[in-house]
Symmetry: C2
Subunit: 234 residues, 2 copies
């Protein structure tokens, strides 16, 4: 946690000592009364916070915003809804690398049960975004959408820029920075791969297929690799 | 586990049912007697294995190697010895992406205690390499070296090719594929950054400094990003 992130509604409120951030401020950063630490407001400014008092089960603090975060890179991820453990890593890594939006869709060869995970119903998913953003000293969280199909995800994408689907089987070329123009949409299929109908749909909607080499990578590794290559463009 | 990897000494020996690979073969792949699965020998051939019998607490199998794995890309990683949880991820990801060697060194701003983790003394570290290689359908494990200092790590590197140290603070340019010539050494400092002496040493030994953007990434994320960019070279 390089930046302690608060929701806008938490500013000016005492932070319960049971909150992991209170533990981080007191034990890891070792700040006591009067101590200053790097903080930010989710999707708002970054700045400095000061511990006002600690007691009664709470930590009181003030916050002064000094800088708006830079806008996110215009990178949209389109990801076949993965198993919850994989989704946690993708949420965290995507927020830490900085992307505009993640669209999860139900893919034809995916597992429909993944959608009913408590990761999504409990709101836990947002915590992974906050942790990823805090790691990167950013306050901005990627937008997250859940789409019923690949078709719906594609309909939600920007009209311009490049569209690239990662594919180990039918892609003839490697993903390289020169092939990327912002805004870019990067699409990742499910573990079992794209269906023939999905590949056809991708091609008909302007996606080119690209690979990351012949090695079979976990989806979360492929996401980091592809976003890093897209960012190495400039 | 896309490939079930065995040590050379395990071929021809019955596999105890308590071994996680036996569970994977029987429960995940659902192979019974006569069933065939993708397998390989660590640092040896890839091929097909056949379940001969299951019983008496063991699974007996035969293995036939059909192809040697392709040589590893000439990428050496030089990594300030990280906390064990980070080292596990780096071992796994580096094996899955495919690199030639990982050299861990004691950095000046690193935590000396990390070296005495059971990760290293128990041999657990090798399991993470095997898992990463199996994910990528590869049998080849990156070499792993532990060096007493950055100086020692540098002395173990190839003489030719490019040398790049990732640095968030003093690097003037971004890591891009065009800047990479194989063999390449990619160096990663500790969480608290390179010391002034280490930066001086890197520069004097032919390293250029490069960054991955202004965001502060976890070391394991930076490793995946940098290796992906180096591989997008061709």
């Amino acid at each position: 946690m390089n930046l302690v992130l608060f929701e806008a509604s938490e500013i000016g409120q005492p932070l319960p000592l049971a909150d992991p951030r209170a533990n981080h401020i007191l034990r890891v950063l070792r700040r006591g009364e009067g101590g200053v630490f790097d903080a930010g407001v989710v999707d708002g400014p970054r700045g400095k916070a000061t511990v006002v008092s600690v007691g009664g089960g709470h930590l009181a603090f003030t916050f002064e915003g000094t800088a708006e975060p830079p806008p996110a890179d215009a990178i949209d991820l389109v990801v076949a809804l993965p198993r919850p453990q994989t989704a946690r890593k993708i949420l965290n890594e995507a927020a830490s690398l900085g992307v505009a939006r993640i669209r999860f869709f139900r893919s034809e060869k995916g597992e429909p049960g993944y959608a009913s995970s408590t990761l999504w119903s409990s709101g836990e998913w947002r915590r992974h975004l906050v942790e990823g953003a805090a790691q990167a000293f950013d306050t901005r969280l990627p937008g997250v959408a859940h789409d019923a199909s690949l078709e719906e995800s594609i309909a939600g994408l920007p009209d311009s820029g490049s569209r690239i689907a990662l594919d180990n089987y039918e892609a003839a070329r490697r993903l390289v920075p020169e092939g990327v123009t912002l805004p870019v949409a990067l699409a990742f299929g499910p573990e079992r791969g794209w269906s023939a109908r999905e590949r056809e749909l991708l091609r008909s909607r302007g996606f080119s297929l690209a690979h990351l080499g012949s090695r079979v990578l976990r989806t979360e590794t492929a996401v980091v690799a592809a976003v890093a290559i897209a960012k190495a463009r400039s």
